[in-house]
């Protein structure tokens, strides 16, 4: 293995992308054996599996790019997934919003996947070869996830009065968290300049067009809100996040080195 050149900025960016995938995968896994139908149980876990695979590659890359710590140890995907505490996770808040009912889960998925398709499309040309490699696969997976979320949002939004009401409620619940996906900070300024990161300002119009088209066809209303919760990228998380991490990390922390 050739040593990877240490690059702290890109390491943090890979960690953000990896945490997004890992945390959403964990939320989707909560549906195991609880989805409204068997086929949907399988579908949600397949989505989670794709995301988990992306997370594994991205966290590995983040560890390599961060380089060895003072003891000479490079953190592995497992170290990063299982041994960090809440303030060290830098996923967007939308990924950790509680799944709620099936309507809210699908509204969240629509907003995430509609962002990931242009994100991974742009990142397939990233100057970081590790991120570009993940993106080339992830773009196909995200497109399939988007199709799935779209079909459920249409079916439930333009379904019965009750399914419409619940999907609209779920959408209203998750909508404010989407704004954080398009925030830009000093790190992104530097990485966009270097051709490593995708420019959030360029992703937003495509995201908005995709989401608005689906919502219009689903007879749903685009929520109006001025509330823009933020902080996930800086390690500030929602109340339920500690519980999510406890479930994710408990086994590994209680039984270090456990294998199947």
């Amino acid at each position: 293995m050739t040593a990877v050149q240490t690059d702290t900025d890109t390491a943090v960016y890979a960690l953000r992308l990896g945490d997004d995938a890992l945390v959403l995968a964990q939320r989707l896994c909560e549906w195991a054996a609880r989805a409204p139908q068997l086929e949907e149980d399988v579908a949600l876990l397949n989505l989670a599996l794709d995301l988990l695979g992306q997370a594994r590659s991205l966290l590995t890359r983040a560890g390599e790019l961060a380089g060895p710590d003072p003891n000479g140890t490079v953190r592995t995907e497992d170290d990063l997934a299982y041994l960090r505490d809440e303030p060290e996770f830098c996923n967007a808040l939308l990924m950790e919003v509680q799944s709620g009912d099936f309507g809210r889960t699908m509204a969240r998925q629509l907003l995430v996947s509609a962002w990931q398709v242009p994100l991974w499309t742009a990142l397939a040309a990233s100057a970081d070869e590790g991120i570009a490699g993940v993106a080339g696969k992830a773009v196909k997976e995200a497109a399939y996830h988007l199709d799935h979320a779209r079909s459920w949002v249409l079916r439930l939004g333009d379904g019965t009065a009750e399914s419409h009401r619940r999907l609209q409620q779920g959408l209203d619940d998750v909508w404010p968290y989407a704004a954080e996906l398009f925030e830009r900070d000093a790190l992104l300024d530097r990485l966009v300049e270097r051709g490593v990161a995708a420019d959030p300002a360029l992703l937003e119009p495509q995201w908005r067009a995709t989401v608005q088209a689906v919502l219009a066809e689903a007879t749903l209303t685009v929520p109006e809100t001025t509330w823009r919760p933020t902080g996930g990228r800086r390690g500030q998380h929602l109340t339920g996040f500690g519980y999510l991490l406890a479930e994710l990390q408990h086994l590994h922390r209680s039984h270090p080195g456990a294998t199947w």
Partner: protein, 152 residues
């Protein structure tokens, strides 16, 4: 030497689709041999496909049986596509009861034939199935359900 290593690798199959060798599946990128040291480069099918861990272990074990010390490298780019599956692999899938993938660029409106009776009167039941790579379909002629390897 390379031929022998290739022959050994030809016996390694996908643990979830045992009719397909790694070559049929199109995940084998490169094989280089230096004495008894072999480096095998593979490309995963789906990001989270759990079969890939098994495949890496199987490659190392199969080569070790023939006295080779193998290192398996994973390369993500360019991304694997079902277009890399061999024609032989597609035929074996059909015989196994799984509808094989068609060309990725021609998938819109493409008819999927039933692997049991060959009828094109088929429909999708679910977009996901037992593994990342498949969807659930059924045949309206013979009434049998079947799995379809998705274009990817």
């Amino acid at each position: 030497m390379v031929t022998t290593v290739r022959e050994v690798l030809a016996t390694v199959t996908d643990p979830e689709l045992p009719v397909l060798t790694l070559e049929d599946l199109g995940v084998l990128r490169e094989v280089s041999v230096d004495g008894d040291e072999v480096t095998v480069t593979v490309t995963p099918t789906y990001s989270g496909c759990p079969a890939m861990d098994e495949i890496r272990a199987d490659i190392t074990a199969a080569l070790a049986q023939h006295g080779y010390r193998a290192t398996v490298r994973t390369v993500l780019s360019p991304a694997w596509t079902t277009d890399w599956m061999s024609e032989d692999g597609k035929r074996k899938l059909r015989e196994f009861g799984i509808a094989p993938p068609g060309p990725v660029l021609l998938q819109i409106g493409r008819r999927v034939s039933c692997p049991q009776c060959g009828s094109a009167d088929t429909e999708e039941m679910a977009r996901f199935s037992s593994t990342s790579c498949k969807a659930m379909w059924r045949c309206r002629s013979c009434r049998e359900p079947f799995e379809r390897f998705k274009e990817h």
